[in-house]
């Protein structure tokens, strides 16, 4: 069977150890990244989808830039069928484990205490909405993880309902935000997994651990779906420090 591949776009070098592929839309980039992981050529180091693009990182001692560009263009154009089930001993089988295991997108329900906010007043002022309306809109939308980056495990979630769009960044970033802080800017919302400097307006905080780097715990992947649910202070304290349950809220 010949699957319809992600529509081919521009494929360009990102230095001499990676290439970038551009797609017409975000789902095409997610499908392409999954196809690369499933194909798992022995030179593959990583594939990094972000919005409608995907970066393919390779071992430059094992393969040349030109060969990878043509491989990527071929796969992006749907001209190559990824293997259905790589055997466990093969390079593909090796790559199919852990962080790289291709898996269908999951849906997560993430509790947020909107009382633990720092910038709700600013968001209300910009949008002309009450805090309750902001919360209703923020929890009333199912988001997609379009990219993971900026900091380990930080999910870029899109897109906000139009009424919540267009809020800028802070004039100067905070030097440290609490882990679990939920922020928004532009068309995006996101969760700061670790204490970091951060420039988004913060409207709440989740009590759950969404990243544990030393343990390799990164439940949220590009392509996953996220819904926020409102909780109160008591519930926040009850859940504080628990891990985000993988596959919850299916």
């Amino acid at each position: 069977m010949r699957r319809a591949g992600p529509a081919a776009g521009r494929v360009v070098p990102l230095g001499d150890q990676a290439v970038l592929a551009y797609f017409p839309d975000e789902p095409a980039a997610v499908r392409f990244a999954a196809a690369v992981r499933a194909a798992a050529p022995p030179w593959l180091q990583d594939v990094v989808p972000a919005y409608a693009t995907a970066g393919v990182f390779f071992d430059a001692d094992a393969v040349g830039l030109r060969a990878v560009m043509s491989w990527v263009a071929d796969l992006a154009g749907g001209g190559r069928e990824p293997p259905e089930d790589p055997s466990p001993g093969s390079a593909a089988g090796l790559f199919a484990r852990g962080a790289h295991a291709p898996r269908p997108p999951r849906t997560f329900q993430i509790p947020v205490c909107y009382e633990r906010q720092l910038d709700m007043a600013r968001v209300c002022e910009h949008t002309g909405l009450s805090a309750d309306e902001v919360i209703r809109l923020h929890t009333g939308t199912e988001y997609t993880v379009y990219a993971v980056g900026f900091a380990p495990g930080f999910p870029y979630l899109g897109y906000l309902p139009p009424e919540l769009c267009g809020v800028g960044r802070l004039a100067s970033p905070r030097l440290r935000v609490e882990p679990g802080s939920v922020g928004l800017t532009g068309r995006q919302t996101g969760i700061y997994p670790l204490p970091r400097p951060a420039g988004w307006n913060l409207i709440g905080r989740t009590p759950l651990v969404i990243v544990d780097l030393p343990a390799g715990f990164f439940p949220l992947r590009v392509g996953d779906r996220v819904r926020f649910g409102r909780i109160d202070e008591a519930e926040f304290r009850r859940l504080e420090g628990e891990r985000l349950a993988v596959g919850s809220g299916q």
Binding site: L14, D16, Q45, D61, L65, G149, F150, Y156
Partner: protein, 333 residues
């Protein structure tokens, strides 16, 4: 019990070859900023190229040994003393219990590596033993007891350590690749460095060649995340870029029109347009620029990039093989 860190200097980190397979989750590659220096230092004490070592920047750490330990300091040639007696960088030595090793500053370059026979022990996190946080005073670094006779590699002051490939008169000549265990940080004369680059994905956002024709100055705000450069701002077409994958070596032009070259701890995705990308043969050099040094970018073809990478890898392999074959290997345990 092995080495106690009495003072961490400016920034001391446990490093190996980093985490190249976790970018999709937003984890920077990390590891040694100057991979060749780490590999050569490790080879001098009989280790595999990516055994964990301590990297330090500009102002080095001070250690006290708890048991005999065969060591070498490699990378930028830092001054160093044992119990206040100066010893040579780039030569192996054995610390005895109670010895205090004090690492000062480098005459050229910024980063050095303390490698010990057998490597430092550290927990493996996501496939790497590179530390997630800087080392601090009082930390104890564990390694096996070991002994060695002194042996070394010279720090090179080659007249042409890093000739850019587009200069045809230098092609095929006796470049540094053929003979010397290159130290990445030497300036090739005339007071500035070359960095060879390929076009970046957004090269066409910049309607000017000013990026390639001007000399930039390294800003003191540079670190392992990025090399910040000062110079004449370059103009670009308006518009915002949606964040996309980036990598060490990417030359981003920030909103002030100035370049930031991403380093080993650089973020994994970014929304600044990339005018160019430093080729892998020159990535180690990024880790050795001193604030105030001057840099020029030289555009090369993909073929030239591949040739440069092959030559550099071949030189490194040759030296690693020579050190493996040589006598006076350290004795571990």
């Amino acid at each position: 019990m092995s080495l106690t860190l009495l003072h961490p200097g400016l920034l001391s980190l446990l490093v190996d070859a980093g985490r190249p397979r976790w970018r999709a989750l937003g984890v920077p590659v990390g590891g040694a900023a100057d991979r060749a220096a780490l590999a050569l230092g490790n080879a001098l004490v009989g280790n595999p190229p990516d055994a964990p070592a301590v990297e330090f920047t500009l102002s080095g750490p001070t250690f006290e040994a708890q048991h005999p330990t065969a060591c070498v300091m490699f990378g930028a040639p830092f001054s160093l003393t044992i119990n206040r007696n100066p010893i040579a960088a780039g030569r192996t030595f054995t610390l005895q219990a109670g010895d205090v090793l004090q690492i000062g500053g480098p005459a050229v370059g910024v980063r050095g590596y303390l490698c010990v026979a057998g490597g430092f022990e550290a927990p493996e996190i996501l496939g790497s033993r590179s530390g997630l946080d800087p080392l601090k005073a009082g930390d104890v670094l564990t390694c096996p007891a070991s002994w060695c006779e002194p042996r070394g590699l010279p720090f090179v002051r080659s007249p042409e350590p890093n000739p850019p490939t587009p200069f045809p008169e230098r092609e095929g000549g006796a470049g540094p690749e053929s003979s010397t265990p290159l130290f990445s940080g030497e300036a090739p004369g005339e007071g500035f460095h070359f960095l060879r680059v390929l076009d970046g994905p957004q090269r066409d956002w910049f309607g000017t060649d000013r990026f390639f024709t001007q000399e930039y100055e390294v800003s003191p705000a540079s670190n392992r995340m990025g090399l910040r450069l000062k110079g004449e701002p370059i103009a670009r077409r308006p518009g915002e870029l949606v964040s996309e994958a980036v990598a060490p070596g990417a030359v981003q032009i920030t909103n002030d029109g100035l370049p930031v070259v991403l380093g080993v701890d650089g973020q994994t995705i970014g929304g600044y347009p990339k005018v160019a990308h430093v080729i892998r043969a020159d990535l180690d050099l990024l880790g050795q620029f001193r604030p105030g040094e001057r840099v020029r970018f030289v555009r090369v073809s993909q073929e030239e990039a591949e040739t440069a990478a092959r030559k550099r890898a071949a030189t490194l392999r040759t030296w690693l093989a020579r050190l493996r074959a040589a006598d006076r290997q350290p004795v571990v345990g």
